[in-house]
Symmetry: C2
Subunit: 339 residues, 2 copies
């Protein structure tokens, strides 16, 4: 099969890889309908994280081609969506809603789903079948549910976005934009998006943003304070992963408010004294996407939400390198790979 | 009046100070029945925080001697308990339960309550009157409610201690010990106390600890994991304020669990990547003691709890310097000052 391998920073190739096989009796093999490139794939691409002939991709939707003998809830031919962490969905941590920390979890990035086929461990606990074969126009949205939508949703939940709340969102990438969509769905009254890009501002508004703040850092915090009677937002989503973004999120939050952070932290260190004086709640990390998949699939299937709009560039798998380059240069927010 | 002044690190004196006067119409003047020395008073005493002729003390109980013309809910002669932050208890932040961040807050440490008399700003929002004049044996417990009990209580609430939960407590000072008492009152099933001191271990058990862990750092974390099926505690209280204690708390918490931190952070920096991978909730800061005072006073008045046991040394105000020295040398956990 064909699949993406990152040889070194900036060097992405589509190569022939061995077809995956069932290894564990709980595995399934899926044929991908679509895959995509994640903002987090840019960290190794840019040399911020080490990389050496790494298979790439952790987002996936597709059709089940084969199942192991112990797989019960998924059958061959099902159209499925899964999370970027495979999980058993039965352990105590999963039952508490933290499937990204399942005691048996497997990181899909180590398997690489920017490929025609993929082995999905713990298929019963990981995959969720759609009600039928999706119309083609639903595929990008279902693809988004696999990571960026699920992650934005978790960020909004972690930030306790809800009725009557003012939510600020730091980061206008795919996750931040879908954090806005999630906050809106969860009933937030007002949603402040930090963004300097006209196209992303437009999508932010379409997803539910009521206010746009172009300033960053202290100036951005000051604007949020202005918009919230001097108090700060009740809920703030951090979807970048840098020190500036994290501190902007903490300082934009009112005492007793909630920060939900999902940006993969790079060189972030939260000063204890500032956190102490801020009096906010902080919660985040890899999103337990599996928890939200049934609901997200339903909202997409019913055409209540259209998160697939974050894909602004679609390329065949063979042109994956072009997709990485476009995201790196910020010419694209999110790239869909088709087969 | 007589009051404590810290001239410089390690130099504590009891001196003649001006009697306080009503300044704002919302002020009250109280005559203190007791005051005490806080663990946080040791930071300047040890030279970790700068200090220069600073009036000391932020905990207080006493009898109202005079009220400003706008004070309505408190009358002369009432026995009152208040928090270390004066608060209006009416602003949006107070109504959300975060009185330590009241938009009109005044830090009582700037007024200094290790003194015979004290001016209490925002008396209606800050002070809570007891049902009558307390029996002498209740005074230490009411004194504890002013800070250490209220702070331990907030830590337990922030850590979401409750029925069915396993709670671990980092720090065996007065706040940590009262965090144990609070966790027990909130219904925690199991309470793991980190402590190496026999006397504090005994009080921890009396307050509700079910397990004692003497190890610290990674070894302490490993013991908590052993005691919790490898998962970590659901709720962890951090009541020290050092890097080691904060990381011990974070790493002792299971994914999705809650860290409540109330140790005043000194040179703490939480690495973003470790926080990201831990998947815990963190919440803390100066405790909104005012929120809990009515309930805490009731529990003390009914003799349901006896938090005054944390005071293991009682001295007259004139001997305050001796009290600081005893706490600094860890000969005392918490010092009560009487008048």
């Amino acid at each position: 099969m064909r699949g993406v391998v990152m040889h070194s920073a900036g060097d992405v190739r589509v190569e022939e890889r061995d077809d995956p096989k069932i290894i564990e009796p709980t595995d399934a093999i899926i044929r991908l309908t679509a895959s995509c490139i994640c903002g987090s794939d840019l960290w190794p691409y840019r040399g911020v994280e080490p990389v050496d002939h790494q298979v790439m991709g952790h987002e996936y939707v597709g059709v089940v081609e084969e199942i192991g003998p112990e797989v019960q809830s998924i059958k061959v031919g099902d159209f499925v969506v899964g999370s970027f962490w495979a999980s058993d969905n039965t352990c105590e941590i999963c039952r508490a809603g933290y499937q990204a920390y399942c005691v048996h979890r497997v990181l899909m990035g180590t398997i690489g789903t920017q490929s025609e086929l993929a082995r999905i461990p713990l298929a019963d606990g990981t995959l969720v079948a759609t009600p039928g074969q999706p119309d083609a126009d639903l595929v990008p949205s279902l693809m988004a549910a696999s990571d960026v939508l699920g992650t934005g949703w978790f960020a909004a939940v972690a930030a306790e976005a809800g009725p009557g709340k003012t939510v600020a969102v730091v980061g206008d990438g795919a996750v931040g934009l879908l954090g806005i969509l999630a906050a809106k769905q969860l009933g937030a009254e007002r949603i402040i998006a930090f963004s300097r890009h006209a196209d992303r501002q437009a999508l932010a508004r379409e997803f539910g943003a009521t206010d746009i703040v172009e300033e960053r850092g202290d100036a951005g915090v000051a604007r949020v304070k202005d918009l919230t009677g001097g108090l700060g937002a009740s809920s703030v989503i951090e979807a970048v992963g840098t020190q500036e973004a994290m501190m902007q999120a903490i300082h934009s939050t009112r005492p007793g408010g909630h920060v939900g952070f999902v940006g993969v932290s790079h060189d972030v260190a939260i000063p204890g004294d500032e956190l102490f004086m801020a009096g906010v709640h902080i919660h985040g990390g890899p999103a337990p996407v599996r928890q939200y998949l049934p609901e997200l699939i339903r909202l997409i299937w019913d055409r209540t939400i259209d998160p697939g709009k974050v894909f602004d560039l679609t390329l065949p798998l063979e042109k994956a390198a072009e997709g990485y380059q476009a995201m790196h240069e910020r010419r694209a927010t999110k790239v869909l790979l088709t087969f």
